[in-house]
Amino acid sequence: MNGDAEGSDGPRNRPTHDSRQAEVWACLQGVMDPELDESVTDLNFVTKADVDSKNRVHIEFRLPTYWCAANFAFLMADDMRRAVGALDWVEGVGVVLGEHMYADKINAGLAEGLSFQATFGAEADGSLDELRQTFLVKAFQRRQVALLNHLIAMGHSSATIVSLTLTELGRLPVDDDGEKLFLRYLERRAVVGQPGAAALAFVDAKGVHLKADGLAGYVSDLRRVGINVEFNGALCRGLLSARFDLETPFAPKSKTLSAPPDTQHVP
């Protein structure tokens, strides 16, 4: 996973320090806050991601409050460690959480490569798998409802939408926004079951195909999931900004709730 990766003595091109640094940030860009379903770098959580002369990566991050849930903090740290550790030239990854009620415990656990259960002992009664799955499903639902709203607004009928296969959905002519929504949805489609190429694009959280006559009600039921996440995202950005007095406070992303988060982050 990391820490004891093999040395890269092969005769390939050695990347420069700057490009390695950029690779690390690109990796972190793909790590999500599980609750907000946004990248930890877009959220401004990561304050440092340095590569030293021995190709070890030192990551530091902080969260919007001292009280943010310990499990999510651990998940993010662990995901960062795995993502960066997967780069073939990386010789070790250190992740340090700052100014958090469980910082000492989490940092000690991370340093030793412990699991969440081992880190917290009696304070936990199992792994984080169930929690992770719960929030992956919410992310799936939120991305799906954003895409469905987009397709409905474009004038596609319920009957057309529910009968689209993934391949057909991918071929629909869409604008840039629609393309982003489609790609984001695709990334989470497997959360509710690995689809085959000919699989229908839209299924519910249990993997059941959507029906045309119930589509409006289904979309309206999912709406509250999207709103909750958007609202928490706004709150978290604001609190982080106030807590650390960031020079550039959170920028309003979009007027519409169905828009995807900003994707560019240039470290």
């Binding site: 009280w67 709103i227 958007e230 706004a234």
Partner: protein
């Protein structure tokens, strides 16, 4: 008292206020500092710049400041004092019933004094609850399920001990249970903000009302789902309401979801004073309309009737306040002396 341009009087009960001492002198440890710092981040992030306080004032304000902010500058007619003990973080506690009771004693017609209990306090805690209830004639309690107590980092309403306390509350006539979900409920591998335990106790205790503060945030979605199935679950607006300034678009979506799922009779205004102050919150709320595109989605409208319910009538029902009689009392005590003549003139 809020008076509309047409001269209608709206009776305001602030469902969520505090008289706290978060000053460094009262802080026991780093957690006490971090707790008030976190509140201050909420305050500074969501308040309009003109309403932002200096840190020192925020950490500890005096009784007169609070009275003026709520009832003179602000539109509150009455305010519910919700305690938050946090005795593991603060030497004299953060915002105890005892501290709040001084406010109630000075202004008995303006304040509703709520108590608190902690199911981890065992038999002694039950005795204390009886004494507290007898002394203050409690009609409500505020529970903070994330409170640290020694090694424990919180509890659930479904704990056996919680049931004992809720049974006692029911017997004592304490019918309003305000619940604030905070983080760190163990086991830590589960969702720290899970609201499922409210669903459980709301079903088991049909005679009690469960007012979920901050409308279940950050689990608004799950909360809406529960509230729609239980007749005795209410939404407290504190924390959601200030978004009316920074992010009116989000507020529109949140309030329309609440109206859709929870309904206009089960939403309670609360300023969360001293995090925010009633004046600007209510000015903005009264001026607010849900945009047409959001109404089209949810069918929710924030009518004058609905605003009146949210601002006071719903809380009046829960706390057995006879609004007309209460207005008379406040008027007799010259509580409306600062308002223009037309408002406080006897009819």
């Amino acid at each position: 008292m809020y008076r509309t341009a047409k001269g209608e009087e709206i009776f305001v009960i602030d469902g969520h206020t505090h008289f706290w001492d978060g000053s460094p002198a009262n802080q026991k440890n780093i957690h006490g500092k971090q707790f008030i710092d976190c509140f201050y981040a909420y305050h500074s992030n969501l308040s309009p710049p003109s309403e932002k306080w200096e840190k020192e004032k925020f950490e500890k304000y005096d009784a007169k400041t609070m009275f003026d902010d709520l009832f003179v500058t602000g539109y509150d007619d009455m305010a519910i004092l919700q305690p938050t003990y946090l005795t593991d973080f603060y030497k004299n506690g953060f915002n105890t019933t005892e501290r709040n009771s001084a406010m109630k004693k000075s202004h008995p017609d303006r304040f509703i004094l709520n108590g608190a209990f902690d199911p981890r306090d065992g038999t002694k805690g039950l005795e204390d609850l009886h004494a507290l209830s007898e002394k203050h004639k409690l009609k409500g309690v505020k529970l903070y399920t994330a409170e640290w107590r020694g090694e424990s980092k919180g509890y659930k309403l479904t704990d056996k001990a919680s049931y004992k306390y809720l049974e006692a509350a029911q017997k004592l006539g304490i019918k309003n249970i305000h619940v604030h979900k905070g983080p760190t409920i163990i086991p830590l591998n589960r969702d720290a903000f899970d609201v499922a335990d409210i669903d459980d106790v709301a079903t088991s205790f049909q005679d009690l009302n469960f007012i979920v503060e901050h409308c279940g945030l950050p689990r608004l979605d799950d909360f809406c789902w529960i509230a729609t199935q239980e007749t005795n679950v209410y939404a407290g607006l504190a924390v959601a309401l200030p978004f009316i300034h920074t992010r009116p678009g989000y507020f529109a979506h949140v309030i329309s979801e609440l109206l859709f799922w929870v309904g206009p009779d089960k939403i309670l205004y609360g300023s969360d004073y001293g995090i925010w102050t009633p004046k600007w919150l209510i000015d903005k709320f009264m001026a607010f309309e849900i945009p047409a595109d959001v109404t089209k989605e949810t069918g929710s409208v924030l009518s004058m009737e609905t605003k009146t319910k949210i601002l006071g009538l719903n809380a009046a029902r829960l706390y057995d306040i006879d609004v007309e009689a209460q207005k008379k009392k406040i008027r007799m005590g010259r509580g409306y002396a600062h308002l223009p003549e037309a408002v406080h003139a006897p009819r």
